[in-house]
């Protein structure tokens, strides 16, 4: 039976292969409770991104503008009109749009972020904002997925740092390294789009030596 600081390591938490002591489990629960809302958002974003990634091969086959004829006007010139092909992500305050313009070999593709027009940012910076552009749709979508994955990793690092700061205040005399690792693993599973898949630790932790 594995013990740490006199406590049995028996608490199982999602997506972390090790077992935590009762004290560590308390710290873990406090940490997760503090970022519960953000964790839910991260999980949704991870799932949405995994769905986009899964659909990229299908989209390559039919990259025509969508039926509602949505157009993004960046200026009065006709050549600056982008046609919305797909909505990649939609949140309450913004949309990420996969767009195209032109035809044949001269066709261009882009990803725009369209903000809530009443937001202070949209009013100051203009709306929508060009994020990525390319003349190859598949490369653009792949770049988009990688860029979003990097962004979600940044969120994960920030959430982990938030929990680390909180635990150092609430449990100043404890070594919270394993708890932080468990929280980081939980955030990581959200980004992967796998949700809260529970990874059960192996029952037998004994070491076998063959002679």
């Amino acid at each position: 039976m594995l013990k740490r600081n006199g406590e049995i390591c028996e608490a199982v938490v999602p997506n972390f292969p090790g077992r935590l002591t009762a004290t560590e489990k308390r710290a873990y629960s406090a940490g997760i409770a503090a970022i519960e809302g953000q964790l839910r958002d991260l999980e949704q974003a991870g799932r949405a991104l995994a769905e986009v990634e899964r659909q990229i091969p299908n989209w390559r086959a039919g990259l025509e503008p969508n039926g509602d004829g949505s157009v993004l006007d960046l200026s009065s010139k006709a050549e600056d009109q982008w046609h919305v092909v797909k909505t990649l992500v939609k949140t309450n305050r913004s949309e990420l749009l996969f767009c195209s313009r032109g035809a044949g070999d001269g066709r261009e593709f882009a990803v725009f972020e369209k903000f809530d027009p009443t937001s202070a940012y949209a009013q100051a910076q203009g709306n929508p904002e060009l994020i990525l552009t390319s003349n190859k749709a598949s490369l653009l979508l792949q770049d988009y997925v990688e860029s979003e994955r990097r962004m979600l990793n940044l969120v994960k690092q920030d959430l982990t740092a938030t929990v680390e700061e909180l635990l150092s205040e609430r449990f100043p005399n404890e070594n919270n390294t394993r708890v932080i690792n468990a929280v980081s693993a939980r955030c990581g599973s959200c980004i992967a789009g796998t949700g809260q898949t529970q990874q059960a630790p192996k029952a037998d932790r004994g070491v076998k030596i063959r002679v």
Binding site: Q38, Q125, D158, E164
Partner: protein, 42 residues
């Protein structure tokens, strides 16, 4: 203050449009002056 989505802020940081400070444990903090700069710039 910016009126945009939580993830949009991280996208701005990633693209270098918003420059955060790193606190002791690596937590990202965006100074108010940085937000004001973004809202004033064209």
């Amino acid at each position: 203050m910016l009126g945009i989505n939580y993830f949009s802020v991280y996208r701005l940081i990633q693209r270098g449009k918003l420059k955060p400070c790193r606190a002791l444990r690596g937590k990202l903090l965006v100074p108010r002056t940085e937000l004001l700069r973004l809202l004033k710039s064209e």
